[in-house]
Symmetry: C2
Subunit: 285 residues, 2 copies
Amino acid sequence: MTEPLRPELPIAVFDSGVGGLTVLHECLVSLPHEDFLYLGDTARFPYGERSARELRDFALELADILLAHGSKLLIVACNSATAAALPALREHLAGRVGVVAVVAPESRLAAQVTRNGRVGLLATPATVASGAYDRALAAVAPDATLESVPAPDLAPLIQAGHEVDERVVELVERLCAPLRAAEVDTVILGCTHYPLVRPMLQRALGRRVEIVSSGAAIAEEVERSLADGGLARPEGRRGGYRFLCSGDPEAFRALGTRFLQLPLGEVRHVGVAPVVDGIERPVAA
Amino acid sequence: MTEPLRPELPIAVFDSGVGGLTVLHECLVSLPHEDFLYLGDTARFPYGERSARELRDFALELADILLAHGSKLLIVACNSATAAALPALREHLAGRVGVVAVVAPESRLAAQVTRNGRVGLLATPATVASGAYDRALAAVAPDATLESVPAPDLAPLIQAGHEVDERVVELVERLCAPLRAAEVDTVILGCTHYPLVRPMLQRALGRRVEIVSSGAAIAEEVERSLADGGLARPEGRRGGYRFLCSGDPEAFRALGTRFLQLPLGEVRHVGVAPVVDGIERPVAA
């Protein structure tokens, strides 16, 4: 038996770790009247090297945990999980709760924003190699071209706390050089870590280039989805937000505050199935 | 003899401490092709309780130091110095270099942005009491009303590093309550510390309220002023920026990075006239 969806329920968000907190940040700023429940699967972080099968199992498990807490909409704030598991997740949750995931929203927003049809993408090598953004952009803007730049080192440097470091400035300049050469007028940040170096990216790209992050794009999509489903809460109230994580709550809090840019408040541990190799990975890039 | 102004010269910025770095931040993101030289008068910080006469002397001295380094435009990124010294500074520098200061630019931007003519102001008690924003807004939007909220504790809490703290959320909610009650649709951040808690402010005010900071407003004004004077550098190059401070360079760097949100790089000490009471105040709110 499925509990009927009600506007009073929170919006659920999951990610492999703390990166998705930049998506939650935008949702909290854009939709302050909604409640949110975030689950970071830090015990099994990072997702980058895991098989598609593993990631599908993880995504369904995390969705079930979140739905057991009650939820009116699910946000997948993780590129790896979206690429591997979105169709399976939508099928699993059909008739129970809607799903908003990364990739499509920011591609749609980039298609709206670009004036010259040249869009840039900055993402991890795995995300670039998946071709997910090429397909998503082609679906909404067949005439647009996508200039993709894989950035193997940027997310780890940010996660290690180097977002105001000269090394990051140099790396960002190097990554942006091909985007400038391609004369893109819009750049998609295809990794939830990158908003932490947005000022550097904007300086390197120049102010005429519009930067599109998944957080802003997803916040718009969530609002539309809630309105369509009659599930939006009335504005004016102040919503709350809380956190679950599968690893150490204190490590999550210490790392997460920089990504959320708001007080983290309550973080509770939640159990997940152990990974096959039996090793709990540390919270690191 | 006055050196002629050339596009190749840097733009000079001064403030009583690190707060003005949020103004520099916006300039660096909006005008990445320009060079900047910032002077923080941390040895004589804070300016809030000083006499108008003292502040005029300080402002002229700091302007002369900056101009001795060569500069094509001066930004006063300090509310107290602007209120006390702007006419004297403009007179002192007439025919030598243009001056852009806080208060007028963000008031002008707020007048452009407001739809219902109700503008809010969040500022220190001294700034609210000065009436500077009332006059500046009345000059550009005679029909607009200004709802001013003095915030005695917010800048000190931010300077002490509490911008992701529940205490600050509570304070921000309390400060925003009268602005919400007055149904303002635009809020001026009348203190250069406040952009550090912009996400909280946006959550407390609701997303329909437009937040106007002096940084963004000044960056626009600087661009216009340089274009009018034929002093803009061509876009495409990557400008540099460096720092002078009258107090301890290491303390400036430690505190300043949070405000600039970019690597601080070189900070050099520069001597200023000792204050009358002979006490070098610590870098603190």
